[in-house]
Symmetry: C2
DNA sequence: ATGAAAGCGCTAACAT
DNA sequence: ATGTTAGCGCTTTCAT
């Protein structure tokens, strides 16, 4: 039984030892030749590279990861992978990460705290080099995040962040986004602006309400409590809220909705009841969902720059990993939102 | 210098050796106790588990992967991660995979052959246990796929497949989808049906044209060459094609478009020129993009069941990995498409 | 029921 | 410029 083992038996794949044996040199020399950086003779390097090519050698990065303690992998945790905004963010992360030689593992929480804890644990076990999180709606305690930090793994938040935990983070300025949207309506000449504000225990919705109030205040417009709704931001709730608004004695002339989908509900109600948009009622949404450009009239909305957020948070990660754990400073990047103006909010003739 | 090393120094994380040392037993016993399956005394198992818990031990899966030659990871290759259809597929894969203890690495090709080759190589190097691919538009040669098979890594295709390579695959029946759509129009009483067919070098578009033809033939309706367009399926091309159709002496009374977006172009043209939908012209699209349900009138379209395709291809992978490489048989799963009927195609009064 | 030892494939400190 | 050696953390035979 004296076969010369030519290929790794388990995997059936070529290893540096195979190459070493065939060239009668040591494995470390092969390793050096392939990584290129160490001093090695031109001749052996060429020999090694050619043979590696010929045998179609592919390095086992699992072994490298174990040896070096790095995985060149980033873990992502999002509520839903297939929500337009998040898949744009993921696209941005993937692009930036892969340019820097990192792979990306994606997990979703479905807004469940338990799933989030489990995903974080799995990513730690996989020894990812960093974890990028948009926090689930159901998250109450933060121990799992502190675990990540305690282990020295870079943790970054995007979009849905937690103030209590010190990390790098990237988000859009919801206050300013709302301010811009309402200011635009005011500039167009609308004076009685309603707001679908959403549940106020959620951070971003509070900020959007704040921006709405600020814009009104700044322009000396009064706030009308009957004009503000705190329902969930569904299409149906948008429809119903609009119904209520239109039955008031003093109707508003514009709606700023904190979500596109409830803005859609509003528009459906208005159309069904023969009101003209924007003449009888202007509408502005939030998120710039693909359908907003397709509706008739087009729905003015706030673009949240998902792709840019992804690029930003991945870049922050790359920055952070360059620094020693002690030198780390947690940068906060606020992305300026953009108001995409369409017909649903244009009063002035142009 | 006689410190007892308590924790792995590189990673700063607890290992089975730390636990072994503290309990004065061997690492293999710890390993057994934690994996649970081998015969071990109840007492030691409990001791080990409690200490592991207390120290918050997290197994290093990289080490396990190296040792076992498996990574419990599936690689996915798609053209674009943030296209609605693909992100639904990915959602289905992620769900199914994570239930079976697999993680998922996602890569995108942006329809580029070179990117596809590179991604496949990276996934091989990462020693993923399987690779699930929806082939890029730019792919001309198949050597990179054969590499995967040669290495014994399960390879599966979904949606965009390659007939020349023997693999498990999951897709929808495009022929039947088109047939159903056109049959529906015929049943509604439309007799002169145009088709935005798309570039015919692409598999699925040929099949859709086939289904269109079959439905016409079966109903004894004649085909009119002026009614078929082979342009790219953009909104603009849909608009222009419709313009041409409406200027014909013998106009069609319905359009079946192989994509929603060009159907949208058609609808925009029709609305802008005062034609009523579906009275003057019925329209059916393909893909059931979110906007189809939001338009007015709603656009009848073919639902491609992305989530189901994801579940299907992940399940096929799990099946395949149970079998020895020799016993493998490549199952082909065809998902029955569903026609989502909305107002844009309803002639009969109801 | 438990331990000793070997090794997955790679890298890197230390030699020469 | 190259080889030797050790070890990343785990699993798994082979002993006892």
């Amino acid at each position: 039984m004296n076969f010369i083992r030519l290929f790794g038996m388990k995997t059936g794949q070529v290893t540096i030892h195979d190459i070493a044996r065939m060239l009668d040199i040591s494995a470390s020399t092969v390793s050096r030749a392939l990584s290129g950086n160490t001093r090695i003779s031109r001749a052996t390097r060429d020999k090694v590279k050619m043979l590696a090519e010929k045998l179609n050698y592919q390095p086992n990065v699992v072994a490298t990861n174990l040896r070096t303690g790095k995985s060149k992998t980033i873990g992502i945790v999002v509520p839903h992978i297939n929500r337009n905004f998040f898949s744009n963010v993921i696209g941005g992360i993937e692009q930036t990460a892969s340019n820097a030689g990192y792979r990306v593992i994606i997990t979703q929480t479905h807004e469940l705290y338990e799933k989030e804890v489990e995903n974080i644990r799995a990513l730690i076990n996989a020894r990812v080099d960093g974890i990028l999180v948009s926090v689930s709606g159901g998250t109450k305690t933060y121990d799992h995040f502190n675990q990540v930090k305690k282990r020295g793994i870079p943790l970054l938040f995007f979009d849905r962040t937690i103030d209590e935990i010190e990390t790098g983070r990237v988000m859009i300025d919801d206050f300013r986004a709302a301010y811009k949207a309402v200011k635009h309506l005011i500039d167009e000449g609308f004076k009685h602006i309603a707001h679908f504000a959403g549940p106020q225990h959620i951070n971003i919705y509070r900020k959007r309400l704040g921006g709405y109030q600020e814009a009104l205040k700044e322009s000396g417009l009064s706030m009308n409590e009957d004009f503000i709704f705190f329902d969930n931001l569904t299409e149906e709730k948008g429809w119903k809220a609009t119904e209520k608004l239109m039955k008031l004695k003093n109707r508003p002339d514009a709606i700023f909705s904190a979500s596109d989908i409830s803005a859609l509900g509003a528009i459906k109600y208005l159309k069904e009841h023969g009101f003209r948009i924007p003449e009888d009622m202007a509408v502005v949404g939030f998120a710039n969902e693909p359908f907003t450009s397709i509706m008739d009239p087009g729905l003015t909305s706030v673009e949240q720059k998902g792709y840019l957020i992804g690029v930003g948070v991945a870049s922050l990660f790359l920055e952070e990993i360059m620094q020693s754990a002690e030198a780390r400073q947690f940068r906060k990047v606020i992305i300026e939102p953009e108001l995409i103006i369409r017909k649903s909010s244009l009063k002035k003739s142009r």
